[in-house]
């Protein structure tokens, strides 16, 4: 996934040293060191909130929150980040703690929390993001590497909040990466169906149907910083110091470097 992400950066023409990746407790891969971006392992679910601070203090940064607790602990941050259209490329790694898919119980990450499998409805993440105002929504499995890299590249160059959902089982924390359930990765891939531009309302994941993947929506909307500059410029006129890189002014963190 990290390799695919690096490929996405390359395709987008984004230099790794412009990139900050705040993640939540999801993962902390030491491997990120070799890709040259800055990595922050934050508290559970707060990657978007932390990323909001990074972005606002230095609008030149490309901030890419990697989230695993996105829809649980971080649900409200996702909703509000989307509403504000904060410039964040949100990568959500969905490991289905909340749902068996296609009739198969896949809740391997928390076997002790769901010893009898699970029966709850999952979120339809692209639909939620889209309806809250996210400007780009996509979903891929971890094996759709090319498509995923393309989506990441596309999202990185969008102005606003993008959400890319990746279906992937997580490795067992206390063992090793080799413990990833390879069958399950393959299972997601085999049971998926690519439907680009599908209305996000129709892409909910259900036990009966194929997993719909694809690039669902891509639209334009004023970002938080643009709206902020427009509104305050309007009210304060000459007295206002515009914020961010577009205006040639620096953010709260001062000049880069």
């Amino acid at each position: 996934m990290i390799t695919t992400f690096a490929k996405g950066l390359e395709k987008a023409g984004v230099k790794p040293n412009q990139v900050c990746v705040p993640s939540d407790i999801l993962f902390e891969p030491a491997i990120v060191k070799h890709f040259g971006f800055d990595y922050f392992h934050t508290t559970r679910g707060r990657a978007i909130a932390f990323g909001t601070g990074l972005k606002l203090a230095n609008p030149a940064l490309k901030v890419v929150p990697f989230t695993g607790d996105l829809m649980t602990v971080g649900g409200n941050h996702f909703v509000h980040g989307s509403r504000r259209n904060m410039e964040l490329t949100v990568i959500c790694i969905n490991n289905f703690v909340y749902r068996k898919i296609a009739g198969k119980a896949v809740s391997i990450e928390t076997p002790k929390f769901s010893p009898y499998s699970t029966f709850e409805e999952p979120f339809n993440i692209p639909h939620l993001g889209n309806s809250c105002g996210a400007i780009y929504t996509a979903r891929w499995t971890a094996l759709h590497t090319e498509e995923l890299a393309d989506s990441i590249a596309e999202a990185l160059n969008k102005k606003g909040l993008s959400i890319i959902e990746i279906l992937a089982p997580g490795p067992d924390y206390y063992t090793s990466i080799s413990n990833v359930n390879a069958d399950l990765v393959r299972f997601y891939y085999d049971n998926s169906e690519i439907r680009n531009d599908e209305d996000p309302r129709n892409v909910g994941i259900t036990p009966e149907n194929k997993i719909i993947v694809g690039k669902f929506t891509s639209k334009e909307r004023s970002t938080f910083i643009d709206s902020y500059n427009a509104q305050l410029g309007n009210v304060l006129g000459e007295k206002f110091t515009p914020y961010g890189i577009e205006s040639g002014k620096k953010g709260a963190g001062g000049k880069n470097g």
């Binding site: 040293n17 412009q18 990139v19 900050c20 705040p22 902390e28 030491a30 990120v32 060191k33 040259g36 971006f37 800055d38 990595y39 922050f40 392992h41 934050t42 508290t43 707060r46 909130a49 932390f50 990323g51 909001t52 601070g53 990074l54 972005k55 606002l56 203090a57 230095n58 030149a60 940064l61 409200n76 941050h77 909703v79 509000h80 902020y228 305050l232 304060l236 007295k239 206002f240 110091t241 914020y243 002014k249 620096k250 953010g251 709260a252 963190g253 001062g254 880069n256 470097g257």
Partner: protein
């Protein structure tokens, strides 16, 4: 480093403490505040939000306090001087990320205008019952700095002081004011920028490839860089080594968590600020902070009129606690009197430092009001009169308590 002229609203004002703190943040060069409105701290955020955009600073109202404090930690790592502002329940919500900030050695300031608690408590009235939460509120071992201003002027001055301490020791700094001080309107003098000394961030300036994020300087505090400047940062809230990589064994725990404590404790002498009056020949010493110290002044005067030799020790810095000073005084005085707007918090640290050498009298008070100076005076008289060594904290019975529990319904009686 001097303050930037554009950030300092030089002049003489008649404003409340909250507003003074907002102006103090501006003067300190704070460029980013994320917050969520909560009484009685809101005016501080309002003051900052009104003026910040004119100087390239930003206030953002986040979705909640959890987001607010996460955002300021993020902004601090991107290079900004940052603060968040809260009270009561909002403070409780921030606890997890205060520990995260301490673990990452992130400089930021948190203004807590304390109100009556617990829970929703008394939102519009005062309290001092978050003092222990300030010290121990987040899980795990860490130390931070907490200061307690007692006037609007101090809320201005100490907000700048808080930023300076945060930068110097790379830790969260709490401004533990209370509603009375926050909503008290008094004269505040904002000096010229060149009279305001600011502590610069401890920037690392060497080659990027040689940067080690948690390698401490001699005073145990490491240097910092801005995110996004090519240092390949790996920064984690997990126990980490100097490079930032996660480790999980007791050797590293001892080495790195211990340093989080030591960098504050070993620099205590430089951090702690106390205000002392007439301690030389005192029989009784009043130890107080925040609004209680303003009330104590009158109580002390009344006791002196009755001929008691009473000194005044005001904790401007509450955490780290001035252990050595209290221990030293305990050998010379008969008693300490500690008025606080809670049922006993800082008083137990006073008692701990006495080592049985002096009596300790707590003058408790519930939230929503302040002490009567008469109570503090009577507590001083009690402390001066008691010749025996009492092996526990003496709880003074206030007039309010006698009034409310006149039927003797209080359980412990």
């Amino acid at each position: 480093m001097k303050a930037d002229q554009r950030d300092v609203l030089t002049g003489v004002y008649y404003i409340d403490g909250d507003v003074a703190s907002g102006y103090g943040a501006l003067a300190a060069g704070c460029k980013f505040i994320a917050g969520y409105p909560i009484t009685p701290s809101t005016e501080a955020a309002e003051a900052f939000a009104r003026i910040a955009p004119k100087g390239g600073a930003m206030f953002i109202q986040m979705e909640d306090e959890l987001a607010s404090i996460s955002a300021i930690v993020g902004a601090a790592w991107a290079g900004a001087k940052t603060m968040t502002i809260t009270s009561g329940p909002g403070y409780s919500l921030m606890m997890e990320t205060i520990g995260y900030g301490a673990m990452l050695e992130t400089p930021f300031v948190l203004l807590n205008i304390q109100r009556g608690g617990p829970s929703t408590g008394v939102p519009t009235k005062t309290g001092q019952a978050d003092m222990m939460q300030a010290r121990w509120g987040s899980h795990g071992d860490y130390e931070l700095i907490a200061i307690a201003p007692d006037s609007p002027q101090e809320l201005f001055d100490h907000t700048i002081k808080a930023f300076n301490l945060a930068e110097k020791y790379r830790c969260p700094v709490m401004i533990m004011a209370d509603e009375c001080v926050g909503h008290m309107t008094e004269k505040v003098v904002i000096p010229r920028a060149e009279e305001i000394e600011l502590e610069p961030r401890r920037w690392y300036t060497g080659p990027p490839d040689e940067y080690i994020p948690f390698k401490p300087d001699e005073d145990l505090v490491p240097k910092m860089v801005k995110a996004g400047s090519g240092h390949k940062l790996f920064i984690s809230g997990r126990l980490h080594d100097e490079r930032g990589y996660p480790v999980d064994n007791e050797h590293f725990e001892l080495k790195y968590v211990r340093r989080l404590i030591d960098k504050i404790m070993c620099n205590k002498d430089k951090i702690i600020e106390l205000k002392e009056e007439q301690l030389d020949d005192a029989d009784v010493v009043v130890v107080s902070y925040g609004i209680s110290s303003r009330v104590a002044v009158r109580g002390i005067e009344m006791a002196r009129e009755k001929g008691i030799k009473v000194g005044n020790l005001r904790l401007i810095t509450v955490w780290p606690f001035p252990d050595e000073r209290i221990t030293e005084l305990a050998k010379k005085v008969k008693a300490f009197v500690v008025p606080e707007i809670n049922y006993g918090q800082v008083v137990f640290d006073v008692a701990r430092c006495c080592h049985g050498n002096a009596n300790v009298v707590l003058v408790p008070h519930g939230g929503a009001g302040v002490h009567m100076p008469d109570d503090i005076c009577d507590a001083i008289l009690l402390g001066a009169k008691e010749e025996r060594k009492i092996e526990k904290v003496i709880e003074f019975k206030t007039q309010l308590e006698k009034l409310v529990f006149k039927g003797g319904s209080k359980l412990k009686e």
